[in-house]
Amino acid sequence: MLLAPAVGTLFLWMIVPLVMTLYFSVVRYNLMQPGPTEFIGLANFHYFVTDPDFGPSVINTLLLLGSVIAITVLLGTGLALLVNEPFPGRGIVRVLLISPFFVMPTANALLWKHMMMNPIYGVLAQVSQFFGLAPIDWLTDHPLLSVIVIVSWQWLPFACLIFMTSLQSLDREQMEAARMDGANALQRFWFLTMPHLGRPVAVVIMIEMIFLMSVFAEIFTTTGGGPGNASTNVAFLIFKQALMNFDVGVASAGALFAVVLANIAAVFLIRLIGKNLDK
C-alpha cells in the first residue's frame, strides 16, 4: 500500500509516454503539416533508419560513451592513487578536484567552447601559439573529440571521488604485510589495490552509462550536432527531428530505437548490480 504511489507514478511516467510514442511512431504526424493524422505503418522507422545521419549518430553515441568511461576510469584511478596518501594541502586538493562535477552541463560546455577552445582567444589556442604551433579550431575540426573532452572533464571528478572513497577503506595492515613479504609496489597494486577497486569501477561504469547514454546539453550548446553530423548522437538526432523538423512521427520512431538501445545496455547492467544487491 505504501508502495503504491511510487510504483503508480513511475508506471504512468513510463507507460503513458511509451504508448504515445508507439502511437506517434506509426502515424504521419508533422506539426508543420496540419491535417488528419493517418496510419502509415512502419514508414517512420524506415525513414529514421535510412536517414544518412542515423549510422553516424549510433557510432557517435557509442564512441562518446566508451571514450568518456575509459578516460574517467583510467585517469580517475591514477588521480585517486596520487592523492590517497597524505601530503600538504591534501584537503584543498580534494575539494578542488571534485568541483567540476557540480558545474551544470550548459555552463561547463560554454566555458569550454568560448574560453578554452576558441581558435583565436581561447586558452588552448594561446598555449599552442606559445609553443609555436598552429592553434586548433577544436569545435570545427574535432567536434566529437571536443565533446568527449568536455564531458570527461565533468565526469572525471565523479570517478575520482568514488575511487578516493574506496581507497580509504583499503586494508592497510594487509598492505603492510604484503610489503613485509617482499611484494613490490607494482605487485601490491596488482594483487591488492586492483581487486579492491573492482566494485567501485563497476559502479562508476554503471552510473556513467545511465547519464551518458543521452548526452544532450553539452552538444546542444557547443556544436549543435555539427558540423554536418560529426557530433550528433542518437539523443540529439531525435531532438532535431522532433523540435527542429517538427516531425513527431519520425522522432517517435527514433525514440523507440533509443529505448531498445538503452535496454540492451540495461539488461547487462542490471545483471551486474543484481549480483551486488544480494551481498
Binding site: 503513458v16 510514442t21 567540476p100 578554452m116 582567444y121 572513497t165 574506496s166 559502479v203 547514454m213 531532438f239
Partner: protein, 274 residues
C-alpha cells in the same frame, strides 16, 4: 610519513598539485574572467593581473533577469526534492522492511526506467505538457524533475533503510507503535543519513538538470541551466558576462557540493562503495 609510500613526499605533492590545478584551471579561469571587462577578457596574451570589476554581475541581472531564473531553479530543485521524498520514502520503507519475492523485481524495474534515455519520452511529454498547459510552468518542470529522479531516490533510500536492524522495528511494534509512529520515531532518526544524502543528490541533479529545462521551459519557468544556454551565440564579445552569469549559476551548488561530498558518494553508489 606512511610506510606504504612509493614516491617521495615532495614528488607526490608537486604532481598532485599540478594535476589538480590543471583540472580546475578552466574553473579558475572562469572566475577570473568574470571580474574582467569585456576587452580584457579577450586580450591576447591574456592578462593575469588587472583591476577587478563588478559591472558584469549587475549587467547580467539587468539584461537577462538572473534573479528570476535563480528563483525558478530554487523552486524546482526544492520542490522536486520534497515531492520525491514524499513518494519515495514510503516505497523504500515498505520494500526494506516487508520484503516479498517481488521486491527485487520492483527495484530492478524502477532502475530500468532510469536507463531509458530521457529523449525517448521527449515527444510525448512535450505534447502532454502542451495540451495540459504545463509547458513553461514551474509546476510542470517540478513534476518532470521529480519523476526523473524518483528511481534513484527510491534506490538510495532503500539501501539506507535496509541497514536499519529490523529487530528495532519489531520491538517498537510490540510496544504498540502505529506505522506512522514507527516511521517518525524509528525510521526518521535512524535513516537520517540516507534521507539527507538522497535530498542532497536530488537537489544537485535538479539544479543542474538541462535536458528537460531546455526543452520544456523558456522565458517564464526557465532555470539557470537554460539561462546559461541562452548565452551560446557564437560571437566572442561577451565572455566576461557569460563568465559572470555562469559563476552566479554554479557557485551555490558547487559550494553546496563541497560540504556534502561524503554523503553524495554514499548516495550515488547506493551504498556499494564505502
Amino acid at each position: 610519513m606512511t610506510r606504504t609510500d612509493i614516491l617521495p613526499l615532495a614528488v607526490r605533492t608537486v604532481s598532485a598539485w599540478t594535476a589538480t590545478l590543471l583540472i580546475v584551471f578552466p574553473l579558475l579561469w572562469l572566475v577570473l574572467t568574470a571580474f574582467k571587462t569585456e576587452l580584457q577578457a579577450i586580450q591576447v596574451p591574456p592578462q593575469l593581473f588587472f583591476t577587478p570589476t563588478l559591472e558584469n554581475f549587475g549587467e547580467v541581472q539587468q539584461r537577462s533577469d538572473y534573479l528570476l531564473f535563480a528563483k525558478n531553479s530554487l523552486i524546482t530543485s526544492l520542490g522536486s526534492t520534497i515531492l520525491g521524498l514524499l513518494i519515495a520514502a514510503p516505497a523504500a520503507y515498505s520494500m526494506a522492511f516487508f520484503r516479498t519475492r517481488r521486491t527485487r523485481d520492483v527495484l530492478m524495474w524502477m532502475l530500468s526506467t532510469k536507463m531509458m534515455p530521457a529523449v525517448g519520452a521527449l515527444v510525448p511529454i512535450y505534447v502532454l505538457a502542451q495540451t495540459s498547459g504545463m509547458l513553461d510552468t514551474l509546476t510542470g518542470l517540478t513534476i518532470v524533475f521529480t519523476m526523473s529522479n524518483l528511481p534513484i531516490m527510491v534506490w538510495m533510500l532503500y539501501s539506507s533503510f535496509k541497514d536499519i536492524p529490523p529487530e528495532i522495528l519489531e520491538a517498537s511494534r510490540m510496544d504498540g507503535a502505529t506505522i506512522w509512529g514507527e516511521f517518525r520515531h524509528v525510521i526518521l532518526p535512524l535513516g537520517m543519513g540516507g534521507l539527507a544524502s538522497t535530498s542532497l543528490l536530488c537537489l544537485v541533479l535538479s539544479w543542474n538538470e538541462a535536458f528537460w529545462s531546455l526543452n520544456l521551459s523558456s522565458a517564464k519557468a526557465g532555470t539557470l541551466a537554460a539561462l546559461i544556454a541562452s548565452y551560446s551565440s557564437p560571437e566572442g564579445l561577451f565572455w566576461a558576462k557569460l563568465s559572470a552569469a555562469s559563476l552566479m549559476a554554479i557557485a551555490p551548488i558547487v559550494v553546496f557540493g563541497w560540504f556534502s561530498q561524503k554523503q553524495l558518494v554514499q548516495g550515488l553508489t547506493f551504498g556499494a562503495v564505502k
